[in-house]
């Protein structure tokens, strides 16, 4: 090896494995985190709390879609299945057996991961659009099952029994939304931290590899089908967490809403808008689309139910035209391209 090349290798080895983002990005990130922590005391109305709780939960849900679709390249159109499983798991266990929703949260994650295996093992072996079609149809079927299933309240759904004591045990708060806010913040933070770790792990690298080229990935020893199922399981468990928290927040389970295709599609839209495959894209998408939906409901009332979807459509169109890989994609690539010495 020539000396110049040996020198370059030395330089390359001394670089950081993951380049530091530029200062302004770090500063912006720190400011955002600080703002999120003090938010309920800066904005004190119940509506501003409600809005942010939804943004945080949707940010988590959009990230869950991003794990299976953005990282491993498998388009799921059935994420609502796991949202519903999360909500029903904690509520059924609590309403029927008095088990704390914290345990229900874990049971929901487990059941969602198992459902992801049941759906993923037969469908993720196939290439192409079969997985997307299968998840869409299975999602509709699951909704119908829950609407007919008497034991879980059929079409009228379930109520979370109201408890006035031990709020943290029962995971319900009736005097203020602030505890819900911090729970949602904690859930979203845990989800994003987990995905941040995942993306830097061997599994994360392998998922991105099989997304980019399954044949090349297989030629490097990656078991394609097993890795896709694994990504789907992680995605399902994350979605389930959002479902449990959502149930504890609204205290009413409506299968029509929980298992709706609309939820499956909206988490996709958020992720694509912000930048699918990026870490922060789904959060940016949620921060844009949730307020849009909530404010259009306020401004246009009941008749405005679909105005937000029209605006979503226009936004997605614009992103597709100018930045098909999403709002944040360029920023993230700039960081990954940076080679900095320690």
């Amino acid at each position: 090896m020539p000396d110049s090349r040996a020198d370059m290798l030395k330089t390359a080895l001394a670089e950081r494995l993951w380049p530091r983002p530029p200062l302004w990005m770090s500063a912006l990130g720190a400011a955002t985190i600080a703002l999120l922590v003090i938010y309920p005391f800066v904005f004190t109305t119940s509506f501003s709390h409600h809005l942010m709780i939804l943004i945080l939960l949707y940010a988590l849900m959009a990230q869950s879609w991003n794990v299976v679709a953005g990282l491993s390249g498998q388009i799921s159109l059935g994420q609502a299945i796991f949202f519903g499983i999360g909500a029903y798991s904690s509520t059924v266990l609590f309403a029927k057996y008095g088990i704390t929703p914290w345990a229900g949260l874990l049971v929901g994650m487990l059941l969602s991961a198992l459902a992801a295996i049941a759906i993923g093992v037969p469908t993720l072996r196939l290439r192409g659009h079969y997985f997307a079609i299968a998840t869409l149809l299975i999602g509709s079927s699951v909704q119908i099952v829950f609407q007919r299933w008497d034991w879980v309240g059929a079409a009228s759904g379930l109520y979370v029994p109201i408890m006035r004591t031990a709020p943290f045990f029962y995971l319900q708060f009736h005097t203020s939304k602030v505890p819900y806010y911090y729970l949602a913040l904690g859930a979203a933070a845990a989800g994003y931290l987990a995905v941040w770790k995942l993306r830097r792990s061997r599994l994360g690298f392998r998922l991105q590899a099989l997304r980019d080229d399954p044949d090349a990935a297989a030629s490097l020893g990656i078991a394609i089908a097993r890795h896709k199922v694994l990504a789907f399981m992680i995605s399902a468990a994350m979605m389930s967490v959002a479902g449990t928290f959502y149930a504890q927040y609204v205290l009413v389970l409506d299968p029509e809403r929980l298992f709706s295709t609309e939820i499956s599609i909206i988490v996709l839209l958020m992720s694509v808008l912000g930048g699918s495959g990026t870490l922060w894209g789904p959060a940016v998408g949620a921060a844009i689309l949730v307020p849009l939906s909530e404010y259009s409901r306020i401004w246009f009332g009941g008749t405005g139910r679909t105005i937000d979807l029209i605006i979503y459509g226009i936004l997605i169109l614009l992103v597709c035209m100018w930045r098909p890989s999403g709002i944040l994609s360029l920023l993230e690539e700039r960081v990954r391209r940076r080679a900095t010495t320690p």
């Binding site: 090896m1 390359a12 061997r202 997304r211 980019d212 080229d213 490097l220 391209r337 080679a339």
Partner: protein, 242 residues
């Protein structure tokens, strides 16, 4: 000593088309075996059969005496067989270093070790300069070297190279040949599909010549050069009487 790779009676049909018929050869440790033949002779199909991307209709593939016929590509890779693709398959949305890290992760789960291995591999193919570029930004020649670096990062016992010099300008070919020579000196065993006769005659210890899926010669470059069937397959037979 048993050969590292042994192929016996390998046959693959697509409907009425026979892509490989009764292909047999062996590769000894440390040897370079070349695969030649005109377009459509079944060279890339042969690689797909050996590396598990296609199941053969008949025949057996032995790696170090163990039967690997019909195993999945990832399992064959884990037994130490790496390959490059004729139609290049980089991971376009990963950087050059990240591409090769994926290869190195076949042998280690530690990211730091994987990155060190990846950078060494990139230094070997002289692609360090581009390490922080995205793979989609590379030229064809650079992609070939990236794919080789990625395959080598898996620490293989055997590498199958599908036209490393194809579509590469004359100056870069010399560099790629030097890489192959150095790999051979390090004791790596290689099977190379190669269109460039000059290149393969100089590099290979033995050569398999395929024609319409059938092996017509298996021998040293001299054997192949002097074989009339090979000359016929490439140039068409000359009817002297006419």
């Amino acid at each position: 000593m048993s050969p590292l790779l042994e192929v016996k009676g390998l046959t693959k049909r697509y409907g009425g088309l026979t892509a490989n018929a009764d292909v047999a050869f062996d590769v000894k440790k440390g040897e370079i075996v070349g695969i030649i033949g005109p377009n459509g002779a079944g060279k890339s199909t042969l690689f797909d059969l050996i590396t598990g991307f296609q199941p053969p209709d008949a025949g057996r593939i032995l790696l170090d005496g163990h039967d690997i016929t019909g195993l999945r590509p990832d399992r064959i890779s884990r037994r130490g067989v790496a390959r490059t693709f004729q139609k290049l398959k980089p991971f376009p949305d990963l950087t050059v270093t990240e591409n090769v890290i994926v290869g190195a992760l076949a042998r280690t789960s530690d990211m730091k070790t994987a990155r060190e291995r990846a950078l060494e591999s990139l230094a070997f193919v002289d692609l360090l300069e581009k390490r922080n570029h995205f793979a989609r930004e590379l030229s064809t020649g650079q992609r070939k070297r990236l794919e080789l670096a990625r395959a080598l990062a898996t620490s293989p016992r055997l590498v199958l190279m599908d036209e490393v010099t194809g579509g590469v300008d004359q100056r870069s070919i010399a560099g790629l040949i030097a890489l192959v020579v150095e790999l051979k000196q390090r004791g790596l065993t290689m099977v190379m599909i190669e269109h460039n006769m000059q290149v393969i005659m100089g590099l290979a210890d033995r050569i398999v010549a395929l024609h319409r899926g059938r092996p017509i010669v298996f021998g040293t470059p001299e054997d192949v050069r002097s074989d009339s069937a090979v000359v016929d397959a490439y140039l068409g037979s000359i009817d002297v009487a006419a």
